[in-house]
């Protein structure tokens, strides 16, 4: 790992260092209790009965045989949980248990609580459900046709259309008219799933009108809200605790049926109730990457400047709304944060199908268009005889600028990350050789969504720091899902208080004990919770320094903080002295993104962020012209991190992003046949092992963002994005054929080679984009610069 520092602030003691995570030891010795490791006295075990029809009316459910079984304590159906919920205000379309209609194989219809899992499972098997099957919709094309039976949902529409959007910025027709070269391409990105190592699990208690739920969730804040809605219960009577988390990647961001079911069963039985999903169920719960069909048309000037772009997407949303309205808009939002596009038109649609519901996976809605856009630019570069890196450089956004869709760009290391990977990989010095290739791509990602998921004016993140009995506790709603957010918060506080990160006790992700943080999604925690922690820690430092200055009879400016000391006193003595004088010490910090970071038009809520990270990748591989097999040699990845809070943790996030990008580029696909998931197991759903993973060389570029905590930006999602197009680009470099579809597998490469051998275009991918009746284009007026600094 190489860190490229643009700033010489060497006064920092712990910020930016390669330190172990604060929660490492518990995880290493097997002591950390994940949700399924929690067992309370008298716990009952819950299993869900799930539909085996992709689309059917539920005519009747008979639970009497299950209830009569020895060891069964309670059985519930949709009648017991009639209120719908959903993560977004516009997608309140899920029942915890469906009792009118099922919409995918795996949709839950009943839940059993029994003395053990085996009994609960046996009871599920004797519940009699009578279904009336309906026509099942499995593809985007099918969903665009008028339904034969009935639409999957009774809202949205027409037919199975969930959401549409059509926006234009600048003069697109004029831009195309002025262009000296115009190109159109069609791409398809197959959906895939998060595959967290930990299966979802939740355990609930209901004691004295107080419901407590421990769950492997990324977003306790939103689960808390959904429980309050479903049970029509005051929020003050519900506590949601994010248990130590075994991997999310977006897959544990929605409120889920099993969370509702264990809560309800705990209320009915008065006993703790736990539900842990099987691996097969995790595939059905899904909420993963949307399959997206894409069409893009771009016009460029003679010297390769983009003059106009028109981008169309069609998303296969699966059975429910989930984050879908946002997912759809994200397929059009961030094209502009890497390239200066003076005229941009976006049309998107999300359809319902009878498959497991899609949602957010690492990069939420942006890996698909990024894959399409980067390859499209490669093809334009080749068409006009320009080096693909040079074409991109001619169009890069500038730091401190405003995109055509009104997004505020601040710190931006896109040039630097490009330099790092291009130079280190000697990309331009590679020799043309059949079977060996290199591919390059760039990307950008948000440091947190600018707006919350539902409209409210609460801070996006708050922290409380308490100094008590000589020690420090930091309370924050942020949820450590493995990305290291507890370590980030501890490090930020430790830097201010002159301590070591492991000196700070972190209490996080608990709606009963910690102030609001919206959750671990959209790469928001370092930037937002980090800023809240910084504010709280600075205030605490000021209090301690003042008390010590008084004792030392000097001015606060002369009190040095560091190495576990506040002035002449140890931290502990200073803290006790301050508590003697002032009582228990608490300070708070909060963060809400600035208001002028995005536009004011309808749909402007998707895309704005207080800062954007930038990543660039070069992939080096061998692709066999006789088998289509790919062997990865090396990946160079450079990431504009702003500044690392913990460079070891950032390196881990970057390498993990590269890995996940490679694995989904080459292997992963959530595939169905006749409504059934084709591979709902870890053996059949292929992902990279140690053996496939190549060497990775990481470069961290410090751009020191002016608003990030200590200048920090995100690392969790951005580095995945350029990897996928870079793989496909490298295969083209090696073999001269395009595979315009992800995952890129040997059979697709061979079909592209076969097509070329038969005199056709050396390409595999979708042939055309369907005719879609998008709504009339909304022409958005230019950004009103008078309301913003830039």
């Amino acid at each position: 790992m190489t860190t490229v520092a643009n700033d010489r602030n060497t006064d920092l003691r712990v910020i930016g260092k390669s330190l172990p995570r604060v929660d490492a030891v518990g995880k290493l010795i097997g002591l950390t209790a994940y949700a399924d490791d929690i067992e309370l006295p008298g716990t009952l075990f819950c299993k869900l009965l799930r539909s085996h029809h992709p689309h059917a009316r539920v005519l009747s459910i008979d639970t009497s045989a299950a209830l009569a079984m020895e060891g069964v304590v309670a059985v519930i159906t949709g009648v017991d949980l009639p209120i719908k919920y959903g993560i977004m205000p516009t997608s309140q379309d899920e029942h915890a248990l469906e009792n009118e209609k099922v919409r995918f194989v795996g949709d839950p219809v009943a839940a059993v609580a029994a003395v053990d899992e085996e009994t609960a499972l046996a009871a599920c098997r004797v519940i009699e459900v009578v279904y009336e099957p309906l026509e099942a919709i499995e593809s985007i094309e099918h969903a665009l046709l008028p339904p034969t039976d009935e639409p999957i949902h009774d809202y949205a529409g027409p037919g199975n259309i969930h959401r549409m959007g059509a926006l234009e910025f600048g003069e697109v027709d004029e831009g195309f008219a002025k262009s000296s070269f115009i190109r159109e391409d069609v791409f398809f990105y197959e959906g895939n799933t998060h595959l967290p190592m930990e299966q979802h699990s939740a355990i609930a208690t209901y004691v004295g009108d107080q419901l407590t739920l421990w769950s492997s969730t990324q977003n306790p804040h939103y689960v808390h809200r959904a429980l309050s809605r479903v049970f029509d219960m005051p929020m003050g009577h519900i506590r949601v605790v994010a248990a130590p988390h075994g991997g999310g990647f977006g897959g544990k961001s929605d409120p889920f049926s099993h969370e509702m079911a264990v809560s309800k069963l705990a209320m009915i039985t008065g006993r703790p109730v736990k539900c842990t999903l099987t691996r097969e169920e995790v595939f059905y719960v899904h909420r993963g990457r949307h399959p997206v069909l894409m069409w893009v048309r771009t016009g460029v000037s003679q010297d390769g400047k983009i003059l106009a772009m028109h981008f169309r997407t069609a998303l296969d949303g699966g059975a429910y709304g989930s984050y879908g309205p946002a997912s759809m808009l994200y397929t059009g939002a961030l094209q502009t944060t890497t390239y200066n596009i003076p005229a941009y038109r976006f049309e998107g649609v999300r359809v319902f199908t009878n498959k497991a519901p899609c949602g957010p996976k690492r990069g939420h809605g942006t890996p698909q268009p990024r894959f399409a856009l980067e390859l499209h630019l490669d093809k334009i570069a080749e068409s006009i005889g320009l080096d693909p890196v040079e074409l991109r450089r001619r169009n890069y956004v500038k730091p401190y600028s405003r995109t055509i869709n009104h997004l505020r760009i601040t710190s931006c290391g896109i040039e630097e990350v490009t330099d790092q990977v291009i130079n280190a990989s000697r990309y331009h010095e590679r020799k043309k050789q059949l079977g060996h290739g290199m591919g390059f791509a760039v990307s950008s990602y948000m440091c947190g969504a600018g707006l919350p998921i539902y409209w409210n004016k609460l801070p996006h993140s708050e922290c409380i720091i308490q100094v008590n009995r000589g020690g420090v506790s930091l309370y924050c709603g942020a949820t450590d899902i493995g990305q290291g957010s507890d370590t980030v918060l501890a490090t930020v506080a430790a830097e201010q208080l002159g301590l070591w990160p492991t000196d700070i006790r972190i209490v996080s992700g608990d709606t009963g004990l910690t102030p609001v943080d919206l959750g671990s999604y959209s790469s928001r925690v370092t930037f937002m919770a980090g800023n809240a922690a910084l504010q709280a820690a600075k205030e605490m430092r000021d209090i301690l320094v003042e008390v010590v200055a008084e004792k030392m009879e000097c001015s606060p400016g002369d009190v040095m903080v560091g190495e576990g000391k506040i002035g002449e006193l140890s931290f502990e003595d200073a803290a006790l002295l301050a508590q003697e004088r002032l009582g228990v010490l608490t300070t708070r910090g909060s963060y809400t993104p600035p208001r002028d970071i995005g536009g004011k038009y309808k749909a402007a809520g998707v895309g704005p962020s207080p800062a954007y990270s930038y990543s660039a990748a070069v992939v080096d591989l061998n692709a066999d012209p006789y088998s289509g097999e790919i062997r990865l040699n090396k990946v160079w990845i450079a990431h504009d991190i702003g500044r690392s809070i913990n460079s070891l943790a950032v390196k881990g996030q970057v390498e993990g992003g590269v890995y996940m990008g490679l694995s989904e580029a080459m292997m992963e696909g959530q595939l169905y046949r006749n409504g059934l998931h084709k591979q709902p197991s870890m053996l059949d759903y292929k992902s990279f092992t140690f053996l496939e993973m190549p060497e990775v060389e990481t470069f961290l570029v410090d751009t020191v963002d002016l608003e990030g905590p200590y200048g920090a930006k995100e690392a969790g999602q951005g580095p995945l994005l350029p990897v996928i197009p870079a793989v496909v680009s490298a295969v083209y470099d090696a073999l001269g054929v395009w595979v315009d579809e992800v995952p890129i597998t040997p059979d697709k490469i061979m079909r592209a080679l076969d097509a070329r051998a038969k005199g056709r275009e050396g390409r595999y991918g979708p042939k055309k984009f369907p005719q879609i009746s998008y709504p009339p284009i909304v022409k958005v007026p230019p950004f009103d610069a008078t309301s913003s600094a830039f």
Binding site: G247, L683, F688, M693
Partner: protein, 160 residues
């Protein structure tokens, strides 16, 4: 194994301590460890031998505990993650994983520690290819594996 009713008596040793347990004959070693002995450090990711989260050592050999039945470990010595560190001192594999940032969510970590320990116990200076081969049954979705390989190399040097 002798039995009482539908249950079998399992006599084995876990982390140096002898146990005599009444278990279902079809219970997996994973279930016995997690549910009967409450040693929840051993994780489950698939219950089908696909992910490696449940790896324990059976007489020093890494085994997928979700695929092992009680009858197969009668009289054996089992090492779980709870038995790897020496009191408050981390095993060199654990220390190296920590120092290299080679764990994130930590859910695969117990299995990764035990597979790595078994490798280094038999081959303290493995090549990168040998490390990859030995750990190829342990999936990790967080780290990208790179830092784990570096950590195991370091741990081998520390143990040598």
């Amino acid at each position: 194994m002798s039995s009482i009713g539908s249950r079998e008596i399992l006599r084995f040793s876990v982390n140096g301590r002898s146990h005599e347990l009444l278990v279902k004959p079809y219970a997996t070693l994973l279930e016995v460890l997690r549910e009967d002995l409450r040693l929840t450090g051993t994780k489950h990711g698939c219950e089908a031998g696909e992910c490696g989260a449940c790896v324990v050592l059976v007489d020093g050999t890494p085994q997928l505990s979700c695929l092992v039945l009680p009858g197969q470990v009668e009289g054996s010595e089992i090492t779980t993650i709870e038995g790897v560190s020496d009191g408050g001192t981390l095993h060199p594999v654990q220390q190296a994983l920590m120092d290299h940032g080679a764990l994130q969510c930590g859910y695969c970590t117990p299995g990764m520690v035990l597979s790595s320990k078994a490798l280094l116990d038999s081959n303290p200076t493995p090549s990168r290819e040998e490390i990859k081969e030995a750990l190829s049954g342990n999936l990790c979705r967080c780290t990208g594996y790179v830092s784990i390989i570096e950590a195991v190399e370091d741990a081998g040097r520390a143990m040598a």
